[in-house]
């Protein structure tokens, strides 16, 4: 691809570069001589301040040859590498090519390491300090932006360290989450539940599931209305990992705690997305990363295996 919008600039750069190089040589040639009083006192005959005169102290000639060498170097360089407008250079070097070569070299260097980890069970990878150091760097670069550098998430972004899993916490499930991503969908349920009063009662019932402070009368009234919720969250409200429906009885509130937050969820619903990582990370990287994330909630297990 040309860096120039039209050929004029290519020619312009080439001409200016070559003329400058020749001009450097000419400059060296024309400034290499001076008038000096060699017969008498070996000064250049210049006098300042009445008595300050310039001695003729010639440089060694190799010094001038060094200058010529730089010109020769420049010409060889311009023949080998791109520099003269659109001319690509005989070596065919490009910055993108060099970048790709360095990437390939780096990948080739870590390939055996990743091959070793890929062959290991996730539980064993989670116990390997070297793999976990790699996992931490992968996490910091790819996951911490949402889940936080301590992996404890934030409102709407799951905490990965609390052993509460929306979709299940087995290594293979975590890997699936990473590869395909997840789409959590809580539909607006107000109409299905009934009147606004019914919705408030269901919210009180949901609070009662985890033993949070609630109005027991309202909760009792809300219990039958919870039937429409139980399709996903289960009759006991313990959720369903196959659907990604959260457990409502564990006092973990991904989208906010209290009646207001629960009402908002029932009335408005929510779509929450975990983006797929398959295009960003290699399979081996996802293997290490899944083991790293699994290790958060299985610290003791990883250590014993």
């Amino acid at each position: 691809m040309s860096d120039f919008t039209n050929n004029f600039w290519s020619v312009f750069v080439t001409v200016v570069t070559l003329v400058s190089i020749v001009a450097c040589l000419l400059l060296l040639w024309f400034t290499g001589k001076a008038r000096a009083m060699t017969a008498t006192d070996n000064t250049t005959g210049h006098v300042w301040d009445g008595d300050l005169r310039e001695m003729n102290n010639p440089l060694p000639r190799w010094w001038a040859w060094l200058f010529v060498l730089t010109v020769i170097f420049a010409l060889i360089y311009l023949a080998l590498y791109p520099g003269l407008g659109n001319y690509a250079g005989t070596l065919g070097w490009t910055s993108t090519g060099q970048h790709q070569a360095e990437l390939d070299k780096g990948n080739a260097e870590v390939a055996p390491l990743y091959a070793k980890f890929t062959a290991m069970a996730p539980e064993a990878v989670a116990a390997d300090p070297q793999a976990m150091a790699i996992g931490e760097r992968l996490f910091m670069n790819n996951c911490a932006q949402c889940h936080g550098s301590d992996a404890r998430g934030s409102k709407g972004i799951p905490n990965l360290t609390d052993t509460d899993w929306l979709h299940g916490g087995a290594p293979v499930t975590i890997k699936e989450t990473l590869i395909k991503g997840r789409m959590g969908n809580m539909p607006p349920m107000a109409a299905a539940v009934g009147s606004p009063e019914d919705v408030r009662n269901v919210a009180q019932y949901v609070l009662s599931l985890s033993g949070s402070p609630h109005d027991s009368l309202q909760a009792a009234l809300g219990k039958p209305k919870f039937a429409v919720c139980s399709a996903c969250h289960g009759a006991d409200g313990k959720g369903n990992p196959a659907l990604g429906a959260p457990n409502l009885s564990d006092d973990i509130w991904l989208h906010g705690y209290g009646e207001t937050a629960i009402l908002a969820m029932i009335n408005n619903g929510k779509v929450n997305q975990m983006p797929a990582q398959a295009d960003k990370l290699t399979e081996a990287q996802i293997h290490v990363l899944a083991s790293y994330v699994w290790g958060f909630s299985n610290k003791g297990l990883a250590a014993t295996k």
């Binding site: 400034t31 290499g32 001589k33 001076a34 008038r35 000096a36 009083m37 060699t38 017969a39 008498t40 006192d41 070996n42 000064t43 250049t44 005959g45 008595d51 300050l52 005169r53 001695m55 003729n56 010639p58 440089l59 060694p60 000639r61 190799w62 010094w63 001038a64 911490a144 932006q145 949402c146 889940h147 936080g148 550098s149 301590d150 404890r152 998430g153 934030s154 409102k155 972004i157 906010g256 705690y257």
Partner: protein
């Protein structure tokens, strides 16, 4: 103020006075500003200044060649581990964050240079500069193998012969050995030298180790064997600005023109006064010993590196002639022109310029030492988590997350206790005790919580307090705590 105050040291005779107006050559001729280099064959010399120079050669090279072999505990005493970015100087472990000490060292070096130069001229050039030191070593080898100045000049003027070939080969072989050992030692400051020695024996030096050994060795060989005075005359920037530190009370190598002129050869028994001659016997030994090939009798010149070889050799000539020493001597321009005694000369060493240099130098040295002795043996950096501004946990507690880097600058594992100040009820909710392995740095996630009833939405300045449990030390690091809008 004496009228000759304005006279500058380089003093060519006035042109017209020498040749007269209209004389041939008065308009000069066109010449090249480049000349082929003429080899200088410095004659070897002994004397007071020469002994000092050799003492400095031995001292500086004992330090340079010896230091990498010293051990400190389980490691090399002085090691600059660029790969791991840790710099070990005896008991000190420095991080790249300690760069200020290098800056301080460079400022101290520069000010020392100013001070020494203002007092006694180019002491650095004449006695301690690696260019001088290695040239001195190479010249010594050259003299042992090829003989002194006259023998070398004679041999170089003759056609090639087997003896010539053998002596030149021996000289270059020895030079290369010294140069390569110098390159090896240099690399030994950056890679453990004993390990490097093992690798050398097994011919398993890494590409960069080999490159720097050869590069530094080649530079030594080239500069001390071939370039010599050309480095000082044409390449060294320091040589050019030193004259700015000179004044008329600076000790320099000086020819006593009043006593020496008119110069001329004479018998030892002759009476110079009767012959109307000065003390200079015009033996030209001062020119022969000069490593930069100048004639000190023409006055102070920019090529003079202040080595004192001419003063040494002139003293031996004066001794032989039975004249008093010091025709070429270390003295100041004022002392020479005003005829001061030694005591008067030394009295003028203490002048404002010297006092200013010395006091600034002293202040920086003291500041450096104080700073080093009060140094906390660890460092901390706190970064507020970029992903999670703030979150609500449990029963409404407000939590912020920070990434904290703890850098252990000691050579044993350390335990640090973290606490936080700045808002009512603010506390660390993650593990407040952190251990960091010897000389390592570690990033940890730190969670800080506060109760919602005290929280005012916005950003609040807080301070992390970090106490070392094993070594003395306390650090305080600023950050902010974010409270979200309800």
């Amino acid at each position: 103020m004496p009228p000759e105050r304005k006279v500058i040291p380089i003093r060519p005779e006035p042109l017209a006075a020498v040749v007269g107006e209209g004389a041939p050559g008065v308009n000069g001729e066109m010449i090249s500003l480049y000349a082929s280099h003429e080899t200088i064959y410095p004659r070897s010399v002994s004397g007071l200044f020469s002994r000092w120079r050799w003492a400095m050669v031995v001292l500086t090279q004992l330090v340079f060649y010896g230091l990498p072999w010293l051990e400190w505990g389980q490691r090399q005493a002085v090691l600059f581990d660029l790969g791991a970015r840790r710099f070990y100087i005896f008991g000190l472990v420095l991080y790249p964050q300690d760069f200020i000490y290098l800056t301080g060292l460079l400022v101290i070096s520069a000010l020392s240079l100013f001070l020494f130069t203002a007092v006694a001229g180019r002491l650095w050039c004449g006695y301690a500069c690696p260019q001088t030191v290695y040239t001195e070593i190479f010249l010594w080898i050259e003299k042992q193998v090829e003989g002194d100045r006259s023998a070398r000049m004679r041999r170089d003027a003759q056609p090639l012969s087997l003896v010539w070939l053998w002596r030149k080969s021996a000289k270059h072989g020895l030079w290369l050995a010294v140069a390569l050992w110098t390159g090896f030692t240099f690399v030994g400051y950056f890679t453990p030298v004993r390990e490097l020695g093992r690798e050398l024996m097994q011919a398993s030096l890494s590409a960069w180790e080999l490159f720097w050994t050869l590069f530094y060795g080649f530079a030594t060989y080239g500069n001390a064997g071939f370039m010599r005075e050309q480095v000082c005359k044409h390449m060294c920037p320091y040589a050019r600005f030193q004259s700015a530190m000179f004044d008329r009370d600076t000790l320099i190598v000086t020819y006593d023109q009043a006593r020496g002129e008119p110069r001329g050869g004479r018998s030892r028994k002759a009476d110079p006064e009767a012959l109307r001659l000065g003390a200079c016997v015009d033996c030209s030994l001062c020119v022969q010993v000069c490593p930069t090939g100048i004639d000190i009798r023409q006055g102070l010149q920019y090529e003079c590196i202040g080595c004192g070889a001419c003063a040494d050799v002139c003293d031996t000539v004066m001794d032989k002639m039975g004249y008093s020493r010091g025709l070429v001597k270390y003295t100041t321009e004022n002392a020479m022109s005003l005829g001061w005694t030694r005591a008067q000369t030394l009295h003028h060493v203490l002048r404002p310029r010297i006092l200013v240099y010395a006091s600034v130098l002293g202040a920086i040295v003291v500041a450096m030492l104080v700073s080093l002795s009060l140094r906390t043996p660890f460092k901390v950096d706190v970064v507020h988590d970029r992903g999670v501004a703030a979150r609500i946990v449990g029963a409404g507690q407000i939590e912020n997350v920070y990434r904290m880097q703890l850098m252990n600058a000691t050579e044993s594992a350390q335990h640090y206790k973290l606490s936080v100040k700045g808002l009512p009820g603010l506390a660390i909710s993650s593990e407040p005790l952190v251990s960091v392995a010897a000389t390592q740095s570690r990033w940890v996630a730190v969670r800080v919580q506060m109760a919602p009833e005290n929280a005012v939405p916005g950003s609040h300045p807080i301070r992390f307090e970090i106490d070392s449990l094993d070594a003395e030390g306390h650090l305080s690091e600023r950050s902010v705590f974010l409270v979200p809008q309800p």
